[in-house]
Subunit: 650 residues, 2 copies
């Protein structure tokens, strides 16, 4: 049991509870007039309504008509249910529970006798079930449903929800596996593996772990599996364009344990490895954990933005190659960073290494939070590090880079994904393994663990991310001493960090791989971590061509950006001199309260305003300009305007 | 009559004559085994063979089968014929003439009784003629055929060729025009306007000028003309994807004279304005010439690469917005720069302004020449300013950026376009208007003009572009004095330029808008222009975000680049210090002879080779490295390797 009391995060969780969930519920029911935007300039994206609940009603026989929307539209409902489950775990709420129960009832009614659920196929093409896994997202949706059912069972002990999930898992087990007559392949979009592992953790039934393991081991053994299935199917595609995607798009180019680089669709990659890391942590399988570690290294050492965004290209929403991190054409899907947080959490179950928590924090405080507006009712799919509204409008290659969060998206995977992450943030603060408790995130909260002989309570008191002092009050009433591993964030490198206990500096404590370990025997122990919080400059590896001779700023876990609202247009003309002082300034009234960074910078003005493009002389005249940076997550909350993370440095 | 004797250009013209024309002839006849590459990752591009001549044979009834290739495949044949015509104008060649005559015969046979020519429609869909102008390219092909026929008539006095063109023009006149019952609109791809103007210049028949003018004036008066035509047609598109293009893609968003910015498909824009400028120069219409000037200003002040490339995005092969000039995702199609040269030539007919010749020279010596390999048998469609082979392979957003010139292209518009430009370079050296002769390009050559009372001969003696001295020997045997306008290139700004006559510096000569005017009375006059040739640094307007804090080098008309072959990988890590001396060095054995620029530069090495992506300290350690630049046009002639024009400067 853990309760978040942090004002920063309580605001977000309340927002999800009070705004996002009711809002999203209305959207799923087409009960609100909103403008649904396409993620990119693509004819195929359905963009008039959600219709997600109505699809279920039709499949359940309660309504009539055709399926509308993406073939994976069901998953929007599942992710909403999962988020609602976490909200109910946090605070009982009769009305929300009634709505959630009605969703569970509706899903149960739409479930076919053999356990199959998938409104598109039930309504439109029952004969094509599991026959076109490259596009069908059937197991992807199934995985989300399992996650939702597990969460809902855990929150309100809904047997009905658990039965839906188990029946569905049984149906899938009947169709997939090494046995003859079954399908020897996996879904084009990973997720069912995560759902099955959660079902396994809840029920202890090994068949679910075994099925997850089957999907993870069969993947990529036949790179042409999906292509062959498409040929067998022979019918028109369910989603255009996917057909010609190479096996790597689906992470099917190699067996999973041989995949040393992150290839293809970014969300799929992190979902795949989240499940693999879960399996590796659960089984202790060394080969699997090594594979996870290799992939992790590739992503975080070579293919991740400073904001924790991943996916360097819109084409296939995909990874590209090492050090290829363009700031203005990237994808950095909200879901991909949410998935990276999932992966980091599982990596921490494999081994205690603060780097996993560093990335978790980076993705959480930056790209994930940027995925929604401060009002909780507008959402980004794509999270650029550089945005110029006119370029988004006039350069078709940047049509996916929105400069204002839309009210809803034609492909609405991100908003409910964010809702479920934020509502379950409690699960990310600590990693508990045997007698070791890792404190990964600094969030004011109260943890209670039942242990042999009595409770262990850990109270975190901190104003983090606003301030850098974190006080841990441990009350250990159990039989055994516990070890608390307190994370020393990677971003503190070169800055002051100290650990004190009962007022005295702790000198003999073990500090290893990003954690400071403190023993807490029976009774009360107080430990205080002090992180020096100050604005900091970052530089990218020079192999990243987009960031060369540029700097990005941070303060604590937040990456900063320049916005046109504070600094005028043409942000690329702004320069931060190497020796400019960075002044931190809290602004309570700005953007729900943010810490800004102020600096004396320069603006390169065209030397000759009527001049042409190219000149044999210097073309930019530096003129002093005050620069004002805000945290990246808060951008685009003041209307359409330019934004930039990496700025020129001289 | 003008004869080029420049060794630099003679090599190119001989290459076109001896290599390109025979090679392209074989390709058009599918008589050579080559690998045809797609310009980009697009299923729709036909890429197995050309079939262009076979299409004509089928249309002519000499063969049977279906049309293959693009709907505009015919234009490849026309451009080949046009280039062959210029080759024959330069040097008689019985065998080439025989081949060219056979092409003319074949085209005549494929021409329908009413004058219509278009093998796709003749063979496949005769009922759809002129019914889907957004995609059909029927008038585009017609324009190319007219150009070819005019050139062929001018070269060998082929009446048959001229008859084909006139009959075709008559057919078009019968279908298009303001009269009731005719089509009130223009082709989706401009070109017929150019062809009609040439036919008018040759024959003096005003009906051709009138028809060109009709197409230029009807364009954009109804932005939905093509959309409505598509709807009327109702059949599947001839080219996928074009249907959803906005009117601006076709320059139909506004009446042409109201188009102040270059919008849409870059080749179409410059073809359109080439015809408009031709009409403006021919009629003296002020409104039209003002429109041309406005568009010219927009392109050259805000939307043109330093290499004379145009078209900032692959999506629609199009212009985007002012100052948006990305170096690695641009299009810069060879044809677009060829078209820009056409436009510059017509602008010079409107008014003597050296700027037009500057751009002509920039596009010619850089992007146009880069469009072909030094062997004359490999061609670029896209001409990047920054290329990294691995990015082209792994980032689908850069799949159009080839790092080695393919042997042929699925859409083969560029190679024959280049052939016809290079073979008619004679026509670009001078602009003759009344008694003023503008010397636009410095190319060793001999001009002979027939004038009242006798000949005017101008002999240019120069090693340009290798050296900067240009000697003009004028022998005026006519009745009247002539004025020779000698261009003072824009790139000489800040460098020494002098003009001398018979050894004495010319002091009283008028210098205006980029030309130095010299009077030449009866008899012989010698004038020598001396341009100081030295390596030069260029900077872009700071509003161009891609080029900020970077420099590009030039020497004479050549823009330079760094290539991996000389400088190693990761060219973005190379830095040219502001104070580094630039040393010019001629290398006879390199790349058919090039002048290189050498400098003491730096390479930013990752400070920690095992480090991750982001660091709170400096990440790049500058290490001295010799930099060696080559002229841009010569890149990618030493296998697949990186290339970069704009490099970091400190």
């Amino acid at each position: 049991m853990i309760q978040i009391t942090s004002p920063f995060w309580k605001r977000y969780q309340d927002l999800v509870k009070k705004e996002m969930l009711p809002y999203q519920w209305k959207v799923l029911n087409d009960a609100i007039q909103i403008r649904i935007e396409k993620e990119r300039d693509d004819d195929e994206i359905p963009n008039e309504k959600s219709h997600a609940i109505e699809n279920f009603r039709i499949a359940a026989g309660e309504s009539s008509g055709e399926h509308y929307g993406w073939v994976f539209q069901d998953s929007d409902v599942y992710k909403w249910l999962e988020a609602a489950a976490y909200a109910l775990r946090r605070d009982p709420d009769e009305e929300l529970k009634k709505t959630a129960d009605s969703v569970v009832d509706l899903i149960a009614k739409a479930q076919e006798p053999d356990g199959y659920i998938g409104t598109y196929f039930t309504i439109m093409e029952p004969d094509r079930k599991f026959k076109r896994l490259s596009e069908s997202h059937e197991l992807y949706c199934a995985g989300h449903l399992m996650e939702a059912c597990v969460a809902y069972y855990e929150a309100v002990k809904s047997r009905k929800a658990l039965q839906i999930a188990e029946k569905l898992a049984g149906c899938i087990d009947g169709h997939f596996g090494p046995e003859e007559g079954k399908i020897h392949g996996a879904d084009g979009h990973e997720e069912v593996e995560i759902g099955l592992m959660r079902l396994y953790h809840l029920t202890g039934e090994e068949k679910y772990e075994k099925l997850a393991q089957y999907f993870l081991s069969i993947r990529g053994t036949d790179p042409d599996f999906l292509k062959k299935q498409n040929e067998m199917d022979g019918k028109p595609p369910l989603i255009k364009g996917v057909k010609s995607a190479p096996p790597a798009y689906f992470q099917m180019h190699l067996p999973v344990s041989k995949q040393d680089t992150a290839e293809g669709h970014a969300v799929r990659v992190v979902y795949l490895f989240t499940a693999l890391a879960d399996l590796a942590a659960s089984t202790g399988d060394r080969e699997l954990s090594d594979a996870c570690r290799r992939l992790w290294r590739n992503i975080t050492d070579k293919r991740m933005y400073i904001t924790g965004g991943i996916g360097s290209t819109v084409r296939g929403e995909a990874f590209t190659l090492d050090y290829d991190l363009p700031n203005d054409t990237m994808y950095c899907e909200t879901c991909a960073s949410v998935g990276l947080i999932f992966l980091a959490r599982q990596m921490l179950r494999i081994e205690p290494d603060g780097e996993y928590a560093d990335v978790m924090e980076r993705a959480l405080y930056n790209t994930a939070l940027a995925g929604m507006a401060l009002d909780g009712k507008h959402f980004f799919y794509v999270n650029p590090l550089e945005a110029v509204p006119e370029k988004s409008r006039k350069d078709p290659g940047k049509s996916h880079v929105k400069c204002v969060r839309p009210q809803w998206l034609g492909c609405a995977c991100c908003p409910p994904n964010l809702a479920r992450l934020l509502m379950s943030l409690e699960d990310y603060i600590y990693t508990v393994k045997d007698s070791v408790i890792l404190a990964n995130l600094f969030i004011r909260s109260e943890l209670t663990l039942e242990a042999e002989g009595g409770r262990i309570e850990i109270r975190q008191e901190t104003e983090y991310p606003k301030e850098g002092e974190v006080r841990f009050h441990i009350n250990n009433q159990s039989e055994h001493p516990v070890t608390l591993g307190i994370r020393v964030p990677g971003w503190t490198e070169g800055q002051g960090v100290s650990l004190s206990s009962q007022g005295d500096e702790v000198l003999d404590s073990r500090r290893e791989k990003g954690y400071w370990y403190v023993q807490a025997g029976k009774g009360e122990t107080d430990v205080t971590l002090k992180l020096k919080m100050e604005p900091k400059r970052w530089h990218a590896n020079p192999l990243v061509s987009s960031d060369i001779n540029k700097t990005a700023l941070s303060m604590g876990p937040f990456v900063y950006c320049l916005e046109e609202a504070d600094n005028g247009k043409d942000l690329h003309c702004l320069v931060l001199p190497k020796d400019a002082e960075l002044r931190y300034e809290w602004k309570e009234e700005l953007l729900c309260g943010v810490g800004t960074i102020q600096a004396d910078g320069l603006r390169l003005m065209p030397s000759d305003p009527h001049g042409g493009l190219y000149c044999g002389k210097e073309t930019g005249k530096p003129v002093p300009q005050k620069l004002s940076f805000i945290p990246y997550y808060a951008w685009a909350n003041r209307g359409e305007n330019e934004m930039r993370v990496w700025i020129h440095e001289t």
